[in-house]
């Protein structure tokens, strides 16, 4: 290993530039993976936090955020009658356009009954809506548009006083805004109707078993909540694909950088590898040397890239708080594995070069 390090550190400036190249590529990989994870978390935030383990939608509707669902009237009562049902939480949803300081802002309205649940899971400031027309606004959306608790926001001429600011409800597409279900029914002219029913099984009743019992209800689709989340994610695949493609490009660029670094370092020292081979070093030893150099560049580059990735995520959070770059341990681990894979891939070609060296060449001038 010390030979590998000496080789790398012989030209420190070049080594630093090489590490920087890898770091930038790794930062990009980490950032993009974090961005994709952030998108996933944002689009599934409500369902993950909502009560119950079963979700009931209108028949033919296979997503929470992407489809328009209206359940048959009286369904909640029917659901409550089914043995094994402990709790039913109906919610009504609708995309709305807010007029905020002469700007049209899309938001996803969720009408819920504060007594039953299904509303904001974390309120950073203020309280839940109690009175007619009160709303809880997403805190990031509020910050971006200068909305404070006590202000009034307007949707199609109707005014809604803001009584609370929720956290964890921001989105790069449409943030969540919570309102009492009765008020949303009145606003949408859909009295007594719901878009979604969230069902909690009684203790001891398996969600799968309860879903099987509920499947017979007419005009509805019954989902395990986790399945509806997966279905929602499939709907947003179109958004994830470009991000994934960019991640792949960043990975390839990173691999190319490490590869070029190690290849040029190997070619430069080709004669020295030949000398070692002539003196009696086995190929395995020389592979180890090449791999150690690749690993050293990749490890240092990856660690620096991860630090840069966290810095970039913080910067994005400060500049565009509605965009979540979720650098969770899994994402960081995946990035480190990516760095390791880069090193292995990058070491392959130089290792072949070393393997092909004829020791007798050492006498050629």
């Amino acid at each position: 290993m010390y030979v590998a390090l000496h080789n790398l550190l012989h030209d420190r400036l070049r080594f630093a530039l090489n590490v920087l190249g890898v770091a930038l590529a790794v930062m990009l990989v980490l950032f993009l993976l974090g961005l994709e994870q952030g998108l996933r978390l944002q689009v599934t935030a409500y369902l993950r936090q909502a009560p119950g383990s079963i979700a009931v939608t209108q028949a033919g509707v296979d997503s929470f955020g992407g489809g328009s669902s209206l359940l048959p009237p009286g369904l909640e009562e029917d659901l409550r009658q089914v043995p094994g049902v402990a709790k039913v939480v109906p919610v009504l949803t609708q995309t709305a356009i807010f007029d905020l300081h002469d700007k049209k802002i899309f938001a996803f309205l969720i009408g819920y009954d504060p007594a039953l649940g299904g509303g904001p899971w974390r309120i950073g400031e203020g309280r839940e809506p109690r009175e007619r027309g009160e709303v809880v606004f997403d805190r990031v959306l509020a910050r971006l548009h200068g909305v404070r608790v006590g202000d009034t926001v307007e949707v199609q001429g109707q005014k809604f006083p803001v009584v609370g600011l929720s956290e964890g409800t921001a989105s790069w597409m449409t943030a969540l805004v919570f309102v009492r279900k009765a008020d949303l029914e009145s606003y949408l002219l859909t009295p007594g109707l719901s878009s979604l029913a969230l069902v909690t099984p009684a203790p001891g009743v398996a969600p799968e078993a309860l879903r099987a019992r509920l499947k017979g209800l007419p005009g509805v689709e019954v989902w395990l909540k986790s399945e509806l989340i997966e279905s929602d994610l499939r709907l947003y695949q179109a958004f994830f694909k470009p991000v994934r493609l960019m991640s792949l490009i960043a990975f390839l660029v990173g691999t190319l950088v490490v590869g070029l670094v190690i290849y040029s370092a190997t070619v430069e020292r080709q004669r020295e590898y030949g000398v070692l081979k002539a003196l009696g070093a086995r190929n395995a030893r020389l592979y180890g040397l090449v791999l150690a150099q690749a690993l050293a560049v990749a490890a240092l580059g990856s660690l620096s890239g991860i630090l840069l990735g966290f810095a970039a995520a913080r910067l994005v959070l400060a500049l565009r708080p509605q965009i979540l770059v979720a650098l969770e341990p899994g994402v960081v681990g995946l990035t480190l594995l990516t760095g390791l894979f880069m090193a292995l891939l990058a070491a392959w070609l130089p290792a072949r070069l070393v393997a092909g060296l004829a020791p007798a060449e050492v006498f050629r001038r």
Partner: protein, 284 residues
Amino acid sequence: MRTERAATLRVQNLSKRYGSGETAVQAVKGVSLEVSPGEIVLIMGPSGSGKTTLLSMLGALLRPTEGRIELDGLVLSELSEGRLPDIRLRHFGFVFQDFNLLSALSALDNVAIVAELAGLGRKAARARARALLEELGLGARLHFLPEQLSGGEKQRVAIARALVNEPALLLADEPTANLDSHHGHETMRLLRRIAKEQGKSVLIVSHDARIQDIADRVLWLEDGEFKEMRSLATDPVCGMTVEREKAVSAQWEGKSYYFCCRGCREEFLAGPQRFGKATARERE
């Protein structure tokens, strides 16, 4: 210096052919040779005579097409490819014209790494390397990079590296070619000391006639074969070594002169006094 180790290199009917069919080139033809412990053998010859090919085969770097190489009773030419690195590591010490030191490593590490390759721990390898370098007068240069050393110092580091695993045989390829006269003599004296004090066999391939002074035996390789030194002469016009039997000759002032071609002979005869100093010195 350290323990003596007796060894004899025996080479029988060694040949090397590159390529096949009409394009085949016979680089070495049926060479036989024996080197005793403590003996210094110098192989000379013109460029392209097969010296490097022969040296590569003797050092287990290149497989012969035919023939047998035996060192310490071990028949190298019959060993599998997988065993050769170990043989090179433990039985041979290589000294190169260009020194071939690893540029990123200090003098100490350049020597120690070869001991480490042979299985010595890092600490022990460095201790052994340090002792050798100090013995060769490089105690003050242990941590210098090759680029910070003079040619003579680099060659001494290379010789220390060649000795670190206590090999039976040193193979030196043009060891004085890149050195000035002083350092060239110094290297020659060092190689002689190693041979005579440690009983190591030293086989040198070189164009440098000065090495004849330290060699116990000088062999002339030409066209892949050893030639009798007695039958060789130097063309006084172009300086080429020629075989007397095959060469064009001329007489002047009662002496015989040998030439590589008629052109050289005619040039000589047109004004022999111009080449008066460079008489056709016989290689005896």
